[in-house]
């Protein structure tokens, strides 16, 4: 099994770290993973995206032109990656700030109002974990427990008290995500 993700949004939304947690969780489960960011000034306010591949076999190309799943968190990302989802693949988007919703019929489209909920519930810092929860609900490529383990592994010790909040966010995302 190989699952190829593209995660994309504004810089500062935590797209790269969401990808990192996903990749680490894969690593925890003994899978082969790659995390390939579009790096550079985009990290600071422009569009940031990262390709994450989780596979049972060694990963060949870390750079892809089409994806099994696109997770898009803003309009430019949706415009860029909707067409790059493989037929039969998945598109998950946050509806906040989306004026032109996805139109493809040959893929499964899911929507998660993570930004709205995060803003309401003072959860902006864990916004990306809400999104990741939604992603894992649709494609449980790694377990929730592995994600929490990955957080323990990647977060500095002083932030470990935030892990329960991240867990909440992940579960909230799982509830929030829906077709459309």
């Amino acid at each position: 099994m190989t699952h190829e993700f593209i995660l994309s949004g504004f810089g500062g939304q935590g797209v790269l770290s969401m990808g990192k947690i996903l990749a680490y969780a894969g690593l925890m489960e003994g899978k082969e993973v790659t995390w390939m960011p579009a790096y550079g000034p985009e990290q600071r306010g422009g569009t940031a995206n990262v390709t994450v591949i989780i596979s049972d076999d060694p990963v060949s190309s870390p750079i892809l032109s089409t994806y099994d799943t696109a997770v898009v968190l803003n309009q430019p990302s949706l415009d860029k990656f909707e067409s790059k989802v493989k037929p039969g693949g998945t598109l998950i988007y946050d509806s906040y700030g989306i004026n032109v919703p996805p139109t493809r019929e040959d893929i499964s489209v899911y929507r998660i109002d993570a930004m709205e909920k995060a803003a309401e519930g003072d959860m902006l810092k864990v916004f990306n974990m809400i999104v990741l929860g939604g992603v894992l609900k649709i494609h449980p490529v790694v377990s929730l427990e592995s994600v929490l383990q990955a957080l323990r592994k990647t977060l500095p010790e002083r932030h470990h008290h935030l892990i329960p909040q991240n867990g909440q966010a992940l579960r909230l995302g799982m509830d929030l995500v829906r077709e459309g």
Binding site: K20, A23, L27, E32, V33, T34, W35, M36, P37, Y39, G40, V59, S60, S61, P62, I63, L64, S65, T66
Partner: protein
Amino acid sequence: MKGNEAIAHAAIRTGCDGYFGYPITPQSEILETLAAEKPWETTGMVVLQAESETASINMVYGGAASGKRVMTSSSSPGISLMQEGISYMAGAELPALIVNVSRGGPGLGTIQPSQADYFQTVKGGGHGDYRLITLAPASVQEMADFVDLAFTLAFRYRNPAMILSDGAIGQMMEKVVLPEYRPRRTEEEIAAGCPWATTGRKGLRSPNIITSLGLRSEEMEAINLRLQAKYREIERKEVRYEEYLTSDAEYLIVAFGSAARISKKVTSLAREAGIKAGLLRPITLWPFPSERIASLCGQVKGILSLEINAGQMVEDIRLAAGGRIPVRWYGRLGGIIPEPEEVLEELKKIAAL
């Protein structure tokens, strides 16, 4: 772990004595990781941010001339600045590691990945007749593994070695098994292993002089002939490459570094499309696997060189092929990484020849 971080950790773990560098995207994580790890408190490794790449490479010259295992890293524009020092080190026969996490040029160019420094690395870059042992990692694991390999080769032949990577491998995160911890060499081990090193005249031995100067033509020719003999030996003994699905291949892709990763995918796509493709991945760019390519020319009907540049390695492949079969290049420029599907289209064109 990112490729850049893997380099830093591998250096600490395999007994590196010193790192001297200057920040430049996309490789600053190497210096940042070293600074955060504080190896001077554990292994005793020196880490110094220099005032320029010129100073960095000359610090490496000084450290190497004193028998220490020292390295620097940079990206393309910084590596250009280092060419003077690299040429001097080749001339003075100093072992050291230079890492180039390359980006697109010419000039300030882009910070996105590129393989456009192939010529600079394997054909010279600096002045004079010299060669640089060049390793091209294609994974984060190889970023870690090649640090020790590069040092080993550098010291075996008293010659600078380069890891020629690119922004994609440097920034990418993958699973990596770091090398076992090994202590730095003791003063006695350095004296025994590098009797030529300038460490002070212990026991009042005759002085060691490190220089690349030979003002008299006869003297300088002799130095050059000795260097050339060394280069021929390296070419005989140290060629490294990886083959993938070549045993029954009718078409061959040759690619290194991140382009080789893409090519592996292309090979699979090609086989699904009914083209028997195989991949040869040079691990040493110099010495180049010319002989293996020449022998594969008796088997395959055409070669595609996939490079993230305007076609540089393709010249070496053509030299190896000697005009017997078509050799074509495909690549993208300016920091754009070719996608597997567009490479497949190029392979199809060769198959249709």
